[in-house]
């Protein structure tokens, strides 16, 4: 091997070594910067208790209540809270949900009632609802029709409205009893 060939040979090795180093540095830096975990946040298991934030008024309590109900219903159905929220958002969403998961209205109603019952318990545990109200609220939840139940978990405002509507006189009492 003459000097010129040796030079080419060493340049070749240098080129390969430099390429390996460049590739490893790039991959290392991107991994260190979080490249392997740059994915959408995983949704939480709805069967696990979600802590209630400090609600500052009836509207916020109603919102926490509906979120808790959604968790309970989703847990009962074996889907995520987010999937259920999208399903309940519109009639088309409900139809798609029914087709995708094979869940009919009877199953949905059972799950939503279970969710509402869990929400009552969660509200009591969080100190947002007086235990005095728990009993009548549970009884009302067990009787509420499906559409009204859906409306209840669908959004906070209707939840608030519906909450007072179906509680009737208990709604006024509720306002007084809430912390």
């Amino acid at each position: 091997m003459n000097g010129s060939q040796r030079s080419f040979f060493s340049r070749g090795r240098l080129l390969i070594g430099g390429s390996i180093a460049a590739a490893l540095i790039l991959v290392g830096v991107y991994l260190a910067a979080g490249g392997s975990s740059y994915t959408p946040e995983k949704t939480q298991d709805p069967c696990q208790q979600r802590p209630w934030r400090d609600p500052e008024g009836l509207q916020e309590i109603a919102e926490q209540f509906s979120l808790s109900a959604m968790d309970g219903a989703a847990c009962e159905l074996g889907v995520t809270r987010e999937t259920l929220a999208q399903a309940l958002a519109t009639p088309e969403g409900r139809e798609r949900f029914r087709e995708r998961f094979g869940i009919d209205d009877a199953k949905l109603a059972t799950a939503i009632r279970a969710g509402l019952l869990r929400a009552v318990t969660d509200a009591e545990d969080a100190g947002a609802l007086s235990p005095l109200l728990g009993g009548p609220l549970r009884t009302t939840v067990e009787e509420v029709p499906l559409d009204q139940a859906i409306e209840l978990v669908q959004d906070a405002s209707s939840a608030f409205g519906t909450f007072q509507d179906f509680l009737g006189p208990a709604g006024d009492l509720l306002e007084e009893l809430l912390p």
Partner: protein, 457 residues
């Protein structure tokens, strides 16, 4: 023939090669526009790309044989005329099927022009080695510049203009070649002495196919990520993907410093794989983060493609036939890359979109925005998602006008940024497995590269 007299012909031949090989990638940036305008899917529009490369892969070697039989001048001139006519048909196409058929015809003409050019160049420049260098360099330049030019034309004019502008260019390239064709016809001097053709260089061509698959995937996926995932305009995406050809020009300088083909091929394959792995591991949805991986891919592709083409052609005759094999291998690689990775990518983007929407729903449900405002925003966001017809949306407009109350405004801005972040995460991550597979393909090319030896025939 004097050097002065040769120049127009050399320019015309290089232009023909560059133009045809640019076509294998020139429509990449126009694909989103094409699939929306022709009302098809991503997978359907990919066939505009696949059809051209598939026909090039199948027709390159027969076209080289034909060029030797009827005369390279005539083959190149006819090839360019067919290419020009088919380009016009592409530009006037109103349906996906007519566009794909026209693309197939375009590739047939292109294959004849490219392989015949390799037969004509040695006689024109007076050296087979120089002819190979001009041919390979014109092809690499065309392929590298194609996407950026396509993006510019799509944005400034229309996707149809990409094809229409090629008509006069192909005809202009054909004019100086016509003189050769006329000379062939008048003198009947045609190389009918078809020498026994040596076998193609299996390992070099196999490595070319694998590396080309990885590079095609890199380009195609990067363009889709920029336009469909991060919502850049075609012109913006064209500017971003210009990094790759610019890096390739820098990489071509290294070729002179390291004449040995094998180290260049090894280094090139490693750089291409490293760059693709970088694209698979993007740590956030920022355009600047695509630059370092593109630099690696660009330098790598110039090193590996030139080294493998030299190895495949080295000491083999006739050059046009073996040039045909390299064209065939490269375009077959592009087809394999697109066919293998498109289903992976389309399945991933559907899954990631669902995951991003779930994550976005969680962000809305858990946000600190007042409940009534939250409901109003949720409705506007749902409308926005509907308007975007399955694309990854830019969520900002759904939040306008922002509330006047400072605390509500701050909460809404946090929600908007978190939501867009989830969508960006989903869009970016959807491409990761495909980029990762392409990187693996580039690494696997090291096996045939290691087995490749330059055999003198």
């Amino acid at each position: 023939m004097s050097a002065e007299a040769r120049r127009p012909r050399v320019t015309a031949l290089a232009l023909a090669v560059g133009l045809v090989l640019a076509d294998s990638s020139i429509v990449v940036l126009a694909l989103p526009e094409i699939y929306r305008e022709l009302d098809t899917s991503v997978a359907g529009a990919t066939w505009v790309l696949i059809a051209f490369n598939l026909v090039m892969a199948l027709a390159a070697v027969p076209a080289a044989l034909l060029a030797r039989r009827i005369g390279p001048g005539r083959a190149a001139a006819v090839g360019l005329a067919v290419f020009a006519g088919a380009s016009l048909a592409c530009g006037l196409s109103e349906t996906l099927s007519t566009l794909i058929v026209a693309r197939c015809v375009q590739a047939l003409g292109g294959a004849a022009a490219v392989t015949a050019s390799l037969e004509l160049l040695p006689a024109t420049v007076g050296s087979e080695r120089r002819a190979t260098a001009i041919w390979a360099s014109a092809g690499a330049t065309g392929a590298a510049l194609g996407p950026a030019l396509g993006g510019l034309l799509t944005e400034l004019v229309s996707w149809q203009s990409i094809f229409l502008i090629q008509v006069p260019v192909a005809l202009a390239a054909a004019v100086p070649i016509l003189a050769v064709a006329k000379h062939e016809a008048a003198t009947q001097i045609i190389n009918t002495e078809l020498r026994r053709t040596g076998r193609p260089h299996l390992w070099a061509n196999l490595a070319l196919a694998m590396v080309s698959a990885a590079i095609a995937a890199a380009l195609f996926l990067l363009v889709l990520l920029l336009i469909e995932g991060w919502r850049l305009t075609p012109i913006g995406a064209a500017v971003v993907v210009s990094v790759m050809p610019l890096a390739a020009i820098v990489g071509s300088r290294l070729t002179g410093l390291v004449p040995a083909a094998k180290p260049r091929a090894v280094a090139g394959a490693i750089l291409v794989s490293g760059g693709l792995a970088g694209l698979a591991l993007l740590p956030s949805a920022e355009v600047a983060l695509t630059v370092p991986p593109q630099i690696l891919v660009g330098i790598g592709l110039s090193l590996v493609l030139s080294a493998l083409t030299e190895t495949a052609l080295g000491g083999r005759a006739p050059q046009a036939i073996h040039g045909g094999w390299t064209i065939s291998a490269r375009h077959a690689g592009v087809v394999i890359g697109l066919l293998a990775l498109t289903p992976v990518f389309t399945a991933d983007i559907a899954q990631q979109r669902d995951d991003a929407i779930d994550a976005g729903t969680a962000v809305i449900l858990d946000s600190r925005v007042p409940p009534l405002l939250k409901i109003d925003l949720a409705e506007r966001i749902a409308d926005r998602l509907g308007d975007e017809e399955g694309r990854v949306p830019t969520i900002g407009p759904a939040f306008k006008p922002l509330p006047e109350d400072p605390s509500d405004r701050a909460a809404v801005e946090v929600l908007r940024d978190e939501l867009q972040d989830q969508l960006n995460r989903g869009a970016t991550h959807a491409f990761s497995p495909s980029f990762g597979l392409a990187a693996l393909l580039g690494l696997l090319a090291l096996i045939p590269i290691a087995l490749a030896r330059r055999v003198e025939l």
